[in-house]
Symmetry: C2
Subunit: 312 residues, 2 copies
């Protein structure tokens, strides 16, 4: 049986089987990053790619913003694992005729993000090929003292929370967001997240992934979803709530955790972390629902699927 | 002053300055891979990209060969550092309309190379964008007991050697080559290489890079350059020697080392490593010469330069 070509996750799951799973791989596909046993240590390893015309528009945003985003999206995945970025390497595929100014602008943006995140750029590779600008940043990170956090530990009854308001990031935040590294460290230091990920493809696409890895379901309460002002400004066919549920690239953290008393939430806020509870983990494996006006409906995936427009 | 846009190295050197150099970076730009201090260990980190139409022709070679090459070129850089590959992550930018068979074929090739090299595939990222297939493999490696080998240690009077015959790899070896990981381990275990790299862009392009990092020059003896049968078969405007000197993608190791007696060379051969001495390191910093019929002429760069066809 062929996997459904409209589903990125299915394609990736199908080919992941080719790569086995040795004892050296502590966490593999399905999490925000891999964790590898290395010379008596754990290395968190992640690659992420941004492409002109898909993840940014070079002509509109300029090379510096593109370079910054390329590194920031990778750092965000390390944040999702509660890991601290240490170093990265960058691969760039440049369109023919690229100017040195563009190349240098990309480097400047990478340097900006490296300084912000502590993820030093230590090497790279450059190609020229007809097609859009492609920037891939691959990083190593170090687990915090409490270890890494994957997507597997959510339990029925857990609270589901996000670290910030959602929706409408296309208006600009998808370029300027700050990876939630500090927030992840605070949360991990209190051993709060049982499962965590960053919201890159939209809540309605990403939450089912976390649920699948943990073997649980989720109820999202519509009235609790923090709606970003950009989700209202974005307009179009989607309502503000729909923007918050389905838009990609919020790069906020989504986590499952034991419900917290108000004092604990206030203590987190004092350390710079505001948790917005959006729902509850359920035992109904694979069932992700939206609760609204006393009714529960399936939360359909409305996020970005890289492979949704491909296939024979 | 703008860097010469016809020179990939100049562009990269110009932007590398943006990335500083912290004590955490033990070896940075200019070597085959970076070496980073990580939680009391050393991690060798490398990214390399292959692009359809530049590094392979997907229609001709098929996805499995492309996937295999993507991982093998990165593993070859780790070999050049005398490091052992441990794990990698893969980013693929797929052309619109890509079939699952192609996607799966790439994965099969990656799995082939992972098994050959011990560099396990532990994660990845997939995008779809108009343009050629792009595959980036980013790997971590572990230094051997004798530590990593960079490009900096060549000394005047050292022998220059390669691990195999050169030229004409375009006829097929550029897809099927075996990264010289075992050879590098044998050489490093005997502490033979003072400086080492893999030949990816052609001897005449790569040797000056090693010389620049070591602050030395080199004399290459034309009659000693091992010419691969493919360099003869390749034909065209280049002579067999020119193919051996200038063609890219041999993926043999080039190393500088103290001259070896025949007994030492025989002992290496018994362990599977044939060193072909091609010349001598000189004190004439930056001067790379070809000695032929009693005459010395500058060895002009004739290898592949990704940025040679770009610029304003």
């Amino acid at each position: 049986v062929r996997p459904d070509t409209r589903d990125e996750d299915a394609w990736i799951a199908a080919v992941s089987r080719r790569f086995g799973a040795s004892p050296r791989v502590l966490l593999g596909p399905g999490h925000d990053a891999a964790v590898v046993a290395f010379d008596g240590r754990e290395v968190v390893l992640k690659t992420d790619t941004v492409v002109d015309g898909v993840d940014f528009r070079l002509e509109a945003c300029g090379p510096r913003a593109a370079g910054r985003k390329a590194l920031a999206v990778t750092a965000s995945d390390l944040a999702a694992m509660a890991a601290t970025p240490r170093a990265c390497v960058v691969s760039a595929v440049l369109p023919p005729g690229v100017t040195f100014e563009t190349f240098d602008g990309i480097a400047a943006g990478l340097a900006d993000a490296a300084e912000e995140t502590g993820c030093e750029v230590v090497g790279g590779d450059t190609s020229v090929a007809p097609g859009p600008l492609v920037i891939t940043v691959s990083a190593i990170g170090e687990p915090g003292p409490a270890g890494v956090v994957g997507r597997r530990g959510a339990r029925p009854g857990d609270a589901l929370s996000v670290t910030g308001a959602l929706g409408g990031s296309i208006l600009g935040r998808h370029l300027t967001f700050r990876p939630r590294l500090a927030e992840a460290q605070v949360l991990a230091s209190e051993r709060i997240p049982r499962a965590m990920m960053d919201l890159s493809d939209g809540l309605s696409t990403d939450l089912p992934r976390l649920c699948a890895m943990s073997g649980v379901g989720a109820d999202v309460e519509a009235a609790r979803v923090p709606i970003h002002p950009d989700a209202v400004r974005a307009g179009g066919a989607r309502s503000p709530l729909e923007h918050a549920l389905h838009d990609g690239e919020d790069f906020e953290l989504l986590l499952a955790h034991a419900p917290l008393e108000v004092e604990a939430l206030a203590a987190l806020a004092a350390r710079g972390v505001t948790l917005h509870r959006i729902g509850t983990v359920t035992a109904a494996a694979g069932e992700v629902r939206l609760l609204r006006d006393g009714r529960a409906t399936p939360l359909e995936r409305g996020g970005y699927d890289h492979l949704a427009r491909t296939g024979p």
